[in-house]
């Protein structure tokens, strides 16, 4: 049984189609990265899965429960780690966990709290108020709160947005532990590195739809080849290089102040300038080629 099944799901907000005929299936035990820029529909998709948004049309099933009617039952088996920090900051670490252990109907609340404190590595801070914790500790607590009931499915909504690299690494470690335990994970992100590092499969989302899906290395091989050449030059030269590369059958995408010639290993002599910077092809290359949009 798939953990998540979405078929032709549509969700509009006024004139905006945030989710536009979305088809998405996530097998049990899979860690799927939902990669896309802001406004792609990732957060709306997350809210649809928890029943905090109701689809206009389409079929939704989470852990065998049909949504929206079965949303509460689905949430009982699902953990959510939100993008925004919504901990009770004046309340202690263990009280924050105890509240959610009760909300998730954990049979043994003290044991669930202890387990969560171990996961977050906050045993010695259990009686401290949340506002006394560092940013990294708060993020670990947020993750532990979403996992306190040992859910079958975990939704991570932009788990490391706005975090500094050190804290991001801590969160990645936690997610890595979850993956090792075989928990089904759906993680939305707009960070390429995060998707490549943590997800077994990546689904590229743009304008409310999935445009490509697969293992990161296979997506790159299929759509972007092995190497990408970045050319940093004034606009006139970039335009000339672009025209020559496209005439040679290569794909070229904007890359900030440069242009990126994708699949540079297939280039014939002279197409890729000598001063180009060669690097391995990436998911970002794939995304920009397929959507024409850049990830922020």
């Amino acid at each position: 049984m798939a953990a998540i099944e979405l078929r032709d799901v549509v969700k509009t907000f006024g004139a905006i189609r945030a989710v536009d005929g979305l088809d998405l299936e996530v097998a049990e035990g899979l860690c799927l990265g939902l990669l896309g820029p802001n406004g792609a529909g990732k957060s709306t998709t997350m809210r649809l899965l928890t029943g905090q948004a109701i689809a206009d049309s389409g079929e939704l099933r989470v852990l065998g429960h049909e949504l929206p009617g079965g949303a509460k039952d689905a949430r009982a088996e699902m953990g959510v780690v939100p993008q925004l920090d919504n901990l009770d900051i004046d309340v202690t670490v263990e009280d924050n966990l105890r509240i959610f252990a009760r909300l998730y109907r954990c049979g043994d609340v003290p044991a669930a709290v202890d387990r969560a404190l171990d996961l977050a590595r906050l045993q010695d801070r259990r009686r401290d108020a949340v506002d006394e914790l560092s940013g990294g500790m708060r993020r670990r607590l947020l993750v532990a709160r979403g996992l306190i009931h040992e859910p079958k499915l975990v939704l991570l909504d932009e788990p490391t947005v706005g975090l500094d690299p050190q804290i991001r690494a801590q969160v990645w470690d936690l997610v890595g532990e979850l993956r090792a335990q075989g928990t089904t994970i759906l993680m939305s992100t707009h960070y390429i590195e995060e998707a490549e590092r943590l997800a077994e499969e990546v689904a590229l989302m743009a304008k409310g739809r999935i445009i490509a899906r697969g293992r990161p290395d296979l997506l790159i091989a299929e759509h972007a080849g092995e190497r990408t050449a970045e050319v940093y030059a004034p606009p006139e030269r970039r335009a000339k290089v672009r025209a020559e590369a496209e005439a040679a059958g290569l794909s070229v995408r904007p890359a900030g102040p440069a242009i990126a010639i994708v699949g540079a290993e297939r280039a014939t002599n002279g197409v890729v300038p000598d001063d180009a910077v060669l690097r391995p092809a990436s998911l970002e290359d794939v995304f920009v080629l397929l959507t024409g949009e850049e990830l922020e």
Binding site: T50, D88, V91, R102, L103
Partner: protein, 256 residues
């Protein structure tokens, strides 16, 4: 899963209790001291100078029993309005709770019950102070006052939650406070009887839940009548209607 699960409701209430433990001293202080100030100002101030008795009651006893309603409305509608708005808009607390197996109906029920229980306790303070310091004789009927306060504050909590689920900006609460809450507070029979008001105002005052509470508290202190059952029924109806409207309004706000 069933509707209105006790585990969901008590779980949400446990969050309120945990937070209340961090600020209970200031809340209890203001809920205790404020009625004393009002009683001194109106009860002894006015009572010693301009008004000595109303309807056969010493003015301080008239005001002391009326102040119960004041304590109830201030400890229910404002925490409901502002607390709900802040938790939703600034703290994203409800997003966290609704990601768990809790629905909006349970969330609203829990919030109303918590506010109701608190206000039931705070509502009794003016009565206790009037008994202890201003000579009001205790009566067995007064044991029902916490229940009357609880039912009334449920209604005002629901009202406050419904308002919070409706307004777009926090300063829009000013309209509700000025146009509804302040008139309700002033024309509830707390500081003066409504009998002397124009007939139209008297009719309107009868629809004021606070007036019904004031009359019930005075009945508890000075003797019940059969019509007091109707008053209680009105308050229960007010609480029920406010509950359902609060659920509807907050659902519109929280569920896209």
């Amino acid at each position: 899963m069933r509707r209105l699960e006790p585990a969901a409701i008590t779980g949400v209430m446990s969050r309120e209790v945990a937070n209340f433990r961090t600020f209970w001293k200031s809340t209890v202080f203001s809920s205790t001291v404020e009625p004393i100030v009002y009683l001194l100002a109106f009860g002894l101030g006015l009572g010693a100078t301009i008004v000595t008795q109303i309807d056969g009651l010493d003015y301080v006893e008239f005001v002391g029993t009326g102040m119960v309603a004041t304590a109830v409305i201030f400890s229910s509608v404002f925490p409901a309005m502002f607390g709900t708005f802040v938790k939703h808009r600034f703290q994203n607390t409800y997003d966290a709770i609704l990601a768990a197996p809790v629905d909006v109906e349970e969330l609203v029920t829990a919030e109303m019950l918590w506010i109701g229980l608190r206000a039931a306790v705070f509502g009794c303070f003016p009565l206790l102070i009037t008994i202890l310091f201003f000579g009001l004789d205790p009566e067995w009927g007064m044991f029902l006052v916490p229940f009357f306060c609880f039912v009334t504050s449920l209604g005002f909590a629901g009202f406050g939650i419904a308002v919070a689920g409706t307004v777009a900006k926090i300063d829009q609460f000013n309209y509700v406070t000025t146009l509804l809450i302040t008139p309700m507070f002033l024309v509830a029979g707390t500081f003066f009887p409504i009998d002397e008001l124009p007939e139209g105002a008297q009719v309107v005052a009868n629809f004021n839940p606070l007036y019904q509470l004031v009359e019930l508290v005075r009945a508890a202190a000075f003797g019940f009548e059969a019509t007091d059952l109707i008053r209680l029924g009105v308050l229960i109806l007010f609480a029920f209607v406010a509950w359902r409207i609060a659920i509807r309004q907050l659902t519109k706000r929280l569920i896209d």
